[in-house]
Point group: C2
């Protein structure tokens, strides 16, 4: 049987205009070109991209399901503004899902190539001082850990969580010092998994995630005390 093609099937299926519009907006949001809190007026964006409002609304819906946009009734779409509470919630989910997926492992998994590739990609990104790639590889490693559980639905949940987390990471002004220390810990988790020690990997992961959460929450409260671009706060809503 010919293998390795199924994964590329997504490239073949005809994608709707809404999907393509969503792709464009998603990268804009993730790369920080639309900062959190930005309102996205249907009329303006629709005109700029040359699509109708109905099509644009469909793209908006896709992105709000990914929690990248938030919808307020009769007020429109906004780029989601994450709070410290969001961080706490996101890391609760990550501890449940990631530790749950890894913890049940009792024997060396048959295929660790993708998870291992994510780790080495991260190490290469560090060597090349490419910080965006470093963050991406980091998140991909965790996605691949969950993928070991072999559940499509868990994978989807995880990719939504990680997309939202990308948004959260924007508060970290220095991505290097944030992501770098986790590289060696990624490798440690990977080796435990490779050895079939799921329980050990889970405990390492739990501590790992607690540390990251704490760092992020600290960054959020610091930002709240000293807002960068909005002295006195964003005003009443």
């Amino acid at each position: 049987m010919i293998e390795g093609l199924a994964a590329d099937r997504a490239l073949l299926v005809r994608t709707s205009t809404a999907d393509r519009v969503a792709d464009i907006l998603r990268t804009h949001i993730i790369e920080g070109r639309f900062p959190p809190g930005t309102r996205l007026p249907e009329d303006e964006i629709g005109k700029q991209l040359g699509v109708s409002r109905n099509t644009l609304r469909e793209a908006f819906r896709l992105l709000s399901h990914e929690r990248l946009l938030a919808h307020e009734l009769n007020r429109g779409m906004f780029v989601r503004e994450s709070t410290a509470e969001d961080v706490v919630d996101l890391y609760r989910v990550r501890r449940i899902v990631e530790c749950g997926a890894v913890g049940v492992i009792t024997a060396p998994p048959p295929d660790l190539t993708r998870a291992a590739a994510a780790v080495t990609d991260g190490e290469r990104a560090l060597a090349e001082e490419s910080w965006r790639a470093l963050g991406t590889a980091n998140l991909r490693f965790h996605q691949e850990l969950v993928a070991l559980a072999g559940s499509t639905r868990a994978d989807e949940l995880m990719s939504r969580v990680l997309a939202e987390l990308r948004l959260v990471f924007h508060v970290m002004v220095d991505p290097r010092t944030f992501h770098e220390p986790y590289l060696v810990r990624n490798r440690a988790v990977l080796e435990r998994v490779r050895a079939g020690d799921g329980a050990g990997a889970a405990t390492e992961l739990a501590a790992y995630l607690l540390d990251a959460e704490q760092q992020l929450v600290a960054a959020f409260t610091a930002q709240r005390r000293a807002p960068v671009d909005a002295p006195g706060g964003a005003g009443p809503r």
Copy 2:
């Protein structure tokens, strides 16, 4: 501070027409009035509910994100037909999330009233021989177990999983014999949690979920061998 109102806020927020349409269709699907495989033509449903095509399509999109409807390009919306693979996937997620949420418990949780209420509701439903209520209470118990983790996102994931599971349960011709044996096991899990023995509860839950999965998969393969209303299969797709 006044408490206990925040949970009811959802009742106050104004809902869009699409949301209400989705609600109507959701109960129809979950209660089996639209059997799996049914096509939902835009024109007909829109006319019956008195909403425009655009609004209806928005409702369709909401439900297909919940995996209750499946969309086929240029063919329309269909009530999702679950497969044995779906069951396996759903139970993988349940084991990860439910056991993960419960497993970390090391001390008696502060508030178990909602979970306990779900268990007693189930027992009462059994006494009253109200099988639909029995299934509902059963699912609510598991929802409440996850709620102990205190994560909005985990709660949302869980409610999506359970809505889809309701669809799956329709293959069980006899809901009583399917749900009944799990009542006593629900209580066992609850008592372990109440005692602060999260790890014990998690192992019980894991065995519980494996049994249920096995029963459902058996029912699906039996159905596939002897289709009820479509001798010779549903034909090529």
